[in-house]
Amino acid sequence: MTVIENALEHVESHLHPEPSYELEAHPVPNGLEEIWRFTPLKRLRGLLDGEASDATLTWEQELPEAATLTTLSADDARDLAVNAPFDRLAALAAAQAPSAVVLDVPANAELDEPVRLTLSGDSLEHPVWGHVVVRVGANARAKIVVEHTGSAVYDAFVPVVVGDGAHLDLVTINDWEDDAVHAAQYNLRVGRDATVRFFEISLGGDLVRTTANVDYAGPGGSAELYGVYFADAGQHIEHRQFVDHTAPRTSSNVLYKGALQGQDAHTVWIGNVLIRKVAEGIETFEQNDNLVLTDGAKADSVPNLEIETGEIAGAGHASTTGRFDDNHLFYLQSRGIEEGEARRLVVHGFFNDIIRRIGVPELQERLVTAIEDELAEADFSAIHGRPEPGTPAGSIGAAGGSDA
């Protein structure tokens, strides 16, 4: 174990269990535990049973020169300088995956093209256990885009080690078919003065539950976590983060934005931040915004800040959940823009704040289109308090009407 971990005090908290590769350290949940209470365990399609399976996803990759894809024994993967699994699903993935796939970007490499991995499934019959390691050497610069498509019951443990001074953009896209189940845990360790930008875009799947755990190998590291999600009827999309400020003068910025539409669309955002005693001079902000487009959808949003030192540069959080702002729509419509188009613009604007930061124009365009497609399926007549299209706006809620 690294020195920094030995130096850290133990912080008892129900928000973030002790990491361990041992399955026994993570009892089978009953659904009431703090870290499980939002997840519909029955819809995990038996993942928690831990059935042995050698089913795999189909991998397609585009690797710029310098980047390599190899395998590592499960034992060697455990020795990586990164946190062990924080929950049973992640521990199962690490235990059941036959070996770990390792994506390496060597020290000082500067990739001029993104690494692209597309992982697709075509069956729900057996679980797929994934153990995927991302290693970015000191002072390297890399952009990695991982897309998940098709149908699968996929549980992945993904350690991400970012060397000192390195710069990593890791973009994960969950664009599954409607029946997929996807659990993932990304454990990121940010090197001294390194910068990590982690994006997750969740559009498809019946149940998606991801956890991003961040800690720092030394001072000066920066982590930005961004999420975009769009849940339709019946979908459960859950994004959890735990940023553990384990070193001084580190920074974290968390921004997740989601839209929900349709009966029983359910999204969960849990943003945990721990500022340890050693973490003097750190800065953190976390924010989650939800746009509830129709009745029957539910967004849970829970920020948690635990502060063990007063010597910090700044810490804050914000969470908003609301419907379309009538004033936004009114302003756009008052310039002649039709209601549907006005909604499209507002949603586009809502997500654009994050999407534009990805820095891969082709991908950004595809995501904008994907979100517009989701939106096109919206049935706005289900919105409480909104008129049917074509109702004269001047008589909304009118007792008499305008011709009286």
Binding site: D326, N327, H328, F330, Y331, L332, Q333, S334, R335, G336, I337, E338, E339, E341, A342, L345, V346, H348, G349, F350, F351, N352, D353, P387, G390, T391, P392, A393, G394, S395, I396, G397, A398, A399, G400, G401, S402, D403, A404
Partner: protein
């Protein structure tokens, strides 16, 4: 030649204590080529009149009609009214995060004209319209009204007025909160618009100051949800000297 007629307009809003009537029978006709100033104290219902004409969902029309060339626009949605030729410069323009001014203006222009503007001239037109109201062209890349100062928001409204060039414009306290330079810039924009001769303006204001720059053909005193008196420019001079007291007292009786 167009005509905007407001007939016996009654409007209420929902409040915690139930429906509250704000407009209590407004009658007013604006012909194209005319500038009508509507002057009234705070809370008299001026913005309610403006919003009701534009169709804001918060306001309920309980009686009366608003005709644009004979068609009752109260039966139209907000966007249909705009496409019919109405424009509202808002007292408090709305911030729309993430939607760029450029995208917003192009979408609006396309909607109003029924076809996309010519790409080659459009960017030039937008830049020129922004520059005329002394907004830097870089504003086109910013989110609509987000982080704009009060004066920048008002100037942005006038840039839209010139680009969309509606038949009738309702300007709700566009002069409020402007310093003298911005007031001049905004007034010049309105005057360029009216100099076309076939456009009508409903200039809502609390102060007579803007009337040094924009010369109304008619002045109306608006108190307690209806017009208390109508006249020519001399009425504005009288209001400047005597204020609204006389009308407010009369309305309270």
């Amino acid at each position: 030649m167009s005509k905007l007629e407001i007939k016996n307009l009654h409007v209420s809003v929902n409040t915690e204590d139930g429906e509250k009537e704000i407009l209590r029978g407004v009658d007013l006709t604006v012909n194209s080529g005319e500038v009508h100033a509507i002057m009234g104290p705070n809370g008299s219902g001026k913005s309610t009149l403006a919003y009701s004409i534009a169709g804001h969902p918060k306001y309920t029309v309980t009686d009366g009609e608003v005709l644009l060339d004979g068609e009752n626009i109260l039966e139209l949605s907000v966007d249909e009214r705009a496409r019919a030729g109405l424009f509202l410069a808002m007292q408090y323009p709305v911030e729309v995060p993430g939607v760029s001014v450029a995208n917003f203006l192009r979408t609006a222009k396309t909607a109003i004209d029924g076809e996309a503007p010519k790409l080659r001239t459009w960017v030039k037109d937008v830049n020129a319209a922004l520059e005329r109201v002394t907004l830097d062209p870089s504003f086109a890349q910013r989110s609509v009204n987000e982080g704009f100062s009060g004066g920048e928001k008002k100037r942005h409204e006038i840039a839209q007025l010139e680009l969309l060039n509606p038949k009738f414009a309702v300007l709700d306290e566009t002069d409020s909160g402007l310093d003298i330079d911005a007031l001049r810039v905004v007034s010049e924009g309105v005057n360029r618009y009216t100099e076309q001769r076939d456009r009508g303006v409903l200039l809502i204001t609390h102060y007579t100051r803007i009337l040094q720059y924009i010369k109304p053909d008619f002045v109306h005193v608006f108190v307690a949800g209806r017009l208390a008196e109508s006249g020519g420019r001399e009425l504005a001079d009288q209001l400047e000297a005597q204020g609204y007291d006389k009308y407010v007292k009369a309305a309270a009786v």
